[in-house]
């Protein structure tokens, strides 16, 4: 027989017990200043959360967005056509007419920088995306199968990793030549993306190795799912964090690589506007008289890389601080 007192004690116990968790959260605020009510954290939009928690990263993102807008709407943003040669205005200093001056062909430097953003972003994004995606798939596959397959893939990656990025990229460019698809040199993209692939594969493999041991992979295997399904549906989604981080980090590297290759005359070729290209050729001969010819494109490269680095770093801190690149 249960008495009323027993009942109420039991109820009290339950209340006490269930309120325990709330207690832990609210003690501090209620104990120090009981008048302040405890605020339940609202779920904010992830983008807003990112902006608040990572102001520097948000600044980087802002620069990237501005660059992307300039690149997409280049014909409307740029004051001049980037290819129009104007011999009357050769090597003109920055003025109201030409904000950043003109080059040795009388072409407007600002317009060429704006159009150059197209090249830089297109090549940068594509190279990083392709390199990272292929790398991530290889990394997950390598971790999933393990054993000999893993060992073999790792040795192949070792081979690719023993080239400096630019050396491998130059060799590939020399081999593949040019291949324009929709105005983008797809072979250049491959040449820049290839050296990134093994690095992403390494990092993703490490993450995937830990996932492979988790019960839900065993469960999926027991359920008789195919290897492909487990790899793409169960493992891949869980390595998205390192993948995203590496994609952004490598965009910066890809932009640098594109600039370097174009500077060497092995990347984008005249008359297409590219920041690296603007620093080479005639610029080398004239830059004492017309320093604006090299100063501004270099600033453009630096700012783009800076923005992507900033954004990438913050993204890492935000998503998963443990990942080391």
């Amino acid at each position: 027989m249960t008495t009323a007192a027993q009942k109420s004690r039991a109820v009290l116990f339950i209340i006490h017990h269930s309120s325990f968790r709330i207690d832990v959260i609210t003690t501090v605020s209620t104990a120090t200043s009981p008048s302040i009510t405890y605020k339940v954290p609202r779920r904010r939009h992830p983008l807003l959360q990112f902006v608040v928690q990572q102001p520097l990263g948000a600044a980087g993102l802002a620069v990237i967005v501005i660059m992307a807008v300039c690149a997409v709407f280049a014909p409307w943003v740029a004051p001049y056509d980037p290819l129009t040669v104007d011999y009357a205005m050769m090597l003109a200093a920055p003025s109201w007419e030409h904000w950043l001056g003109t080059d040795s062909f009388g072409r407007d430097v600002l317009s060429r920088i704006i159009y150059g953003a197209r090249t830089a972003l297109a090549v940068g994004f594509l190279a990083s995306f392709i390199g990272s995606t292929v790398g991530a798939i290889i990394g997950v596959v390598s971790a999933y199968f393990g054993g000999r397959i893993d060992l073999f893939i790792q040795r192949v990656l070792d081979v690719l990793l023993s080239f400096p990025i630019i050396v491998l990229a130059i060799t590939v460019v020399a081999v593949l030549g040019k291949n324009l698809v929709l105005g983008v040199d797809i072979n250049l993209v491959i040449a820049i993306g290839l050296p990134m692939m093994p690095k992403v594969a390494r990092v993703v493999r490490a993450s995937a190795l830990a996932i492979r041991e988790l019960p839900y992979i065993d469960a999926a295997r027991t359920a008789g799912f195919s290897d492909a399904r487990i790899i793409f549906r169960h493992m891949a989604p869980n390595v998205v964090a390192p993948y995203l981080i590496m994609v952004t980090a490598f965009v910066a590297q890809a932009i640098l690589a594109e600039a370097s290759l174009s500077f060497l005359g092995l990347g984008v070729t005249e008359p297409t506007a590219s920041w690296g290209l603007m620093l080479s050729g005639a610029a080398a001969d004239f830059y004492q008289q017309a320093p604006w010819m090299i100063v501004f494109p270099g600033i453009a490269i630096s700012m783009a890389v800076f923005a992507f680095n900033l954004f990438g770093d913050s993204l890492r801190d935000w998503l998963d601080p443990k990942i080391k690149l």
């Binding site: 070792d158 090299i294 270099g298």
Partner: protein, 315 residues
């Protein structure tokens, strides 16, 4: 330890063999023909081209070419440059001193800048010192070294009317002249290099400062300066060593472009020229040497690790 070393050395062989195969096959897939390229504009008959190809052995099947090249390689013979007709190793040898010197100077500069600044940044975390150092290092990662080189030349030209000399003066011939020539490319390359190391130093010191032995040292009443210099910095150097070593191997990449800017006739320039000329043997030799260099440095870093940190034991 010895077993570990032998194991590691043996593991290098398949990697290097892979590099050799990869470069060889990649180049043979290239659409350009080095002989055509070399004789371009010389208006020679097809017969001459064929004869030249036969002389260079380019008309043989791929595997024959490869075995011949690789066999010679095992005897330390890197072959003869298709373009200049001189041995590949000779061409590399006369330029190696310059590139290596710039690389070493850049590495020294980087370490000299990165270690103290990275430590300062960590010790004064979240103060203006830290912010300043971080801005310097993030900027260092963003500025392309060849552009920095151009800006340096522009600056020197404008204010000191200094132009990059056309010829290289070896260090032992005239150290002063040599240093004044190579210090600027070293700065241009070293800035980026130091930025990488600086970031590593900062995060590494921050990590070490959380360790128990640092707390113990502080609790013992050791002066904070000594805690940082003796306990934190020494232990924090380990990952920095890795980064500096790895970056050193990759420095050759940075030099490829920067040497063009400073008109230095080094390995980097040789590589770009070889690619532009389709000089197969030269590209193969250079890439392979870079890879050997890289793999050896990796190996050296691992050994250095054990030396610097007695807790690490290899089996």
């Amino acid at each position: 330890m010895l077993r570990y070393m032998i194991n590691r050395l043996l593991l290098m062989l398949p990697t290097l063999f892979g590099v050799a195969v990869l470069v060889f096959v990649l180049l043979r897939l290239a659409p350009g023909d080095p002989v055509q390229m070399m004789l371009e504009g010389a208006n020679v008959s097809q017969q001459v081209v064929e004869a030249e190809r036969a002389r260079l052995g380019l008309d043989r099947p791929l595997y024959v070419q490869f075995t011949k090249w690789f066999g010679a390689l095992l005897n330390g013979d890197f072959g003869v440059s298709i373009w200049t007709g001189r041995p590949v190793l000779y061409e590399i040898g006369i330029r190696l001193e310059l590139s290596l010197q710039v690389a070493i100077m850049a590495a020294l500069l980087a370490v000299m800048i990165a270690v103290p600044l990275g430590t300062l940044s960590a010790v004064f975390k979240d103060t203006w010192v830290d912010h300043l150092v971080r801005v310097i290092s993030i900027a260092g990662l963003a500025v392309p070294s060849f552009w920095l080189g151009m800006i340096i030349i522009l600056f020197l030209l404008t204010y000191f009317s200094w132009i990059p000399p056309l010829t290289f003066t070896p260090f032992f011939e005239d150290p002063w002249k040599n240093l004044s020539q190579l210090i600027w490319p070293a700065v241009a390359v070293g800035y980026r290099y130091s930025a990488v190391a600086m970031r590593m130093m900062r995060s590494s010191v921050l990590e070490v400062l959380q360790e128990d032995y640092v707390r113990t040292a502080r609790a013992k009443g050791v002066h904070e300066r000594l805690v940082v210099a003796r306990h934190a910095m020494r232990n924090a150097l380990l990952p920095v060593v890795t980064v500096v070593g790895l970056e050193f191997a990759f420095l050759i990449g940075g030099l490829v472009v920067t040497e063009q800017v400073f008109n230095l006739n080094g390995i980097g320039k040789l590589f770009v020229q070889a690619v532009a000329r389709g000089d197969y043997t030269m590209i193969q030799g250079l890439v392979l040497l870079v890879a050997v260099f890289f793999v050896m440095i990796n190996f050296a870093i691992d050994l250095l690790y054990a030396f610097l940190d007695p807790r690490i034991r290899y089996r």
